[in-house]
């Protein structure tokens, strides 16, 4: 019995040492990855400087007409830095981007929308534009502010609206499947206030590349590019992201 217990105890210790060794290896792998990311970030900072100082000439000419609508997703904890957000918008304005959506999941940007628009010289709220303004070439910057309530919750409101509309038609014999189409859902979303168009490009200023709940209905073919956190935003990186977008060719599934 004694020797069996000793063997059991010994193999338990070996197992624990083995686990400790694996844990150390795992931590080492992640440490090496962090060092790698640091080096890449340093290289990106140098490249960004070269782009913004005009030394990398290929980024000087941007075919901005290809970017009809831009979305910017910002981590909510960073969205309180209104001055950084305004700086970002000023860079975009100089590049010629006129229509955009600012999104953060918790609606921090929505709460500061009035002060953001005030701090910019030539900006209006997207909802203040009428159909005629939307069709004409934009004279000023139009900003839309969105949050998670415009995403999944917006679809719920649209579903309730569609159901009420359907019941008004008076057909209680069973659901007419033909009534529920993508066009109907799209119209219902606009009716409940989720009006914005589908962005061509979505820039994510967050620790991770993720859309953080940007309205699903509007991101079918949107290019999603990770820019890093808002505190490390750079003009050169922004220019490069938009330049790369203008070179993308989409098949739309074909």
């Amino acid at each position: 019995m004694d020797s069996k217990q000793k063997v059991r105890g010994f193999s338990c210790s070996i197992h624990q040492i083995g686990n400790l060794g694996l844990q150390l290896l795992w931590s080492l792998v992640h440490l090496l990855i962090s060092i790698g990311y640091f080096v890449v970030a340093a290289a990106a900072a140098v490249e960004s400087y070269l782009i913004s100082s005009g030394l990398l000439t290929r980024y000087k000419v941007l075919n901005i007409s290809k970017l009809k609508y831009l979305a910017i997703v910002i981590e909510s904890d960073d969205a309180v830095q209104t001055s950084k957000v305004v700086q970002l918008l000023r860079w975009l304005e100089v590049m010629g981007v006129k229509r955009m959506c600012l999104y953060d999941a918790q609606g921090v940007l929505k709460k500061s929308k009035a002060s953001i628009v005030k701090m910019l010289d030539n900006a209006v709220l997207f909802e203040e534009l009428d159909e005629k303004d939307l069709l004409e070439k934009p004279k000023c910057m139009a900003l839309e502010f969105a949050s998670m309530s415009d995403g999944k919750e917006g679809v719920v409101k649209a579903a309730n609206l569609l159901f009420a509309k359907y019941m008004e038609l008076g057909n209680r014999d069973g659901l007419d499947d033909e009534f529920f189409t993508e066009a109907q859902v799209g119209e219902a979303l606009r009716a409940v206030g989720c009006k914005g168009p589908e962005p061509d490009l979505l820039l994510v200023y967050a620790p991770v590349r993720c859309h953080l709940g940007f309205p699903a209905w509007r991101t079918r073919y949107t290019e999603i590019v990770h820019m890093g956190s808002l505190k490390s935003m750079r003009l050169g990186s922004l220019t490069k992201a938009i330049y790369k977008f203008t070179r993308v060719r989409q098949n739309y599934g074909k």
Binding site: F180, T219, T222, G253
Partner: protein
């Protein structure tokens, strides 16, 4: 070597659900000077390898974008080639020794299956029935699928339920909508890998990827290997604490 690598990886969190957009089969065929259908076949072999790696490391749910509703717009010959391949491989899942058998995989075909030919639909239903008792892992094959169609279907099904409970004056809520999603049989993905370097989701799992790491390696789908799966898991591990904090805030 692989099992040592997986033992090290398993010291950190492993994604519960790993999703894949299998992009680049046609470009691969062009690059390797192969016939068009050969690219999709090469893509299938890559899929089988990826499934094995994921199930061995402990991923429980895997979803793959096999065929989008938008893909029906392709040339009819190409659509037929892909559908024939899907039918052949779906029937293969019923055979003894298939990957479903080996790893105890429950298979779901997720999407607007009414858009498929009767042959493919019947084969899919047979596989779903035959693997319904498997509990170790889950494979969701998104076919005739788009997120927008999924949302419309969910809204329709919610309204159907409401019609049947017409005395109940309460409206739909988020739980009702999510219950009727095609992807409602699995938790939301933790990481989504789209091969060939494209940075868009192309109408795939837009609803489910709120807190999902998006990863776009430049390799074409048939070139996707163990290294890409491992790198994806490492990326997930790096963002795990961030997303856990986000999910707790939402509760």
């Amino acid at each position: 070597m692989r099992s040592c690598l997986f033992k090290v990886l398993c010291m950190g969190p492993i994604p519960t659900h790993f999703s894949f957009i299998m992009d680049g089969n046609r470009r691969y065929a062009k690059k390797m000077d192969m016939g068009e259908g050969a690219g999709h076949r090469a893509g299938f072999f890559a899929l089988v390898s990826v499934l094995k790696y994921c199930y061995e490391v402990g991923v429980k749910y895997i979803s793959v974008y096999a065929f989008s509703i938008d893909n029906f717009k392709r040339r009819p010959e190409e659509v037929k080639t892909i559908m024939d391949l899907i039918l052949e491989k779906t029937e293969g899942l019923l055979e003894e020794g298939s990957i479903a058998d080996q790893y105890g995989v429950r298979v779901y075909f997720v999407g607007n299956l009414k858009l498929l030919s009767e042959q493919v639909r019947i084969a899919a239903e047979k596989v779903m029935e035959a693997t319904a008792h498997n509990t170790r892992c889950v494979l969701l094959i998104c076919i005739a699928y788009t997120s927008c169609d999924e949302i419309v279907n969910s809204v329709r099904e919610c309204c159907k339920d409401k019609m049947e409970e017409i005395e109940d004056e309460e409206g739909d809520d988020l739980v009702d909508i999510e219950k009727h999603m095609y992807m409602g049989v699995a938790p939301d993905p933790d990481i989504l890998l789209r091969s060939s370097g494209e940075k868009r989701l192309s109408n795939y799992q837009l609803w489910q990827t709120t807190h999902c790491t998006l990863y776009s390696p430049t390799a074409l789908w048939p070139e996707i290997s163990l290294l890409h799966v491992v790198w994806g898991i490492l990326k997930f591990q790096r963002s795990y604490a961030y997303f856990e904090k986000k999910k707790k805030k939402m509760l």
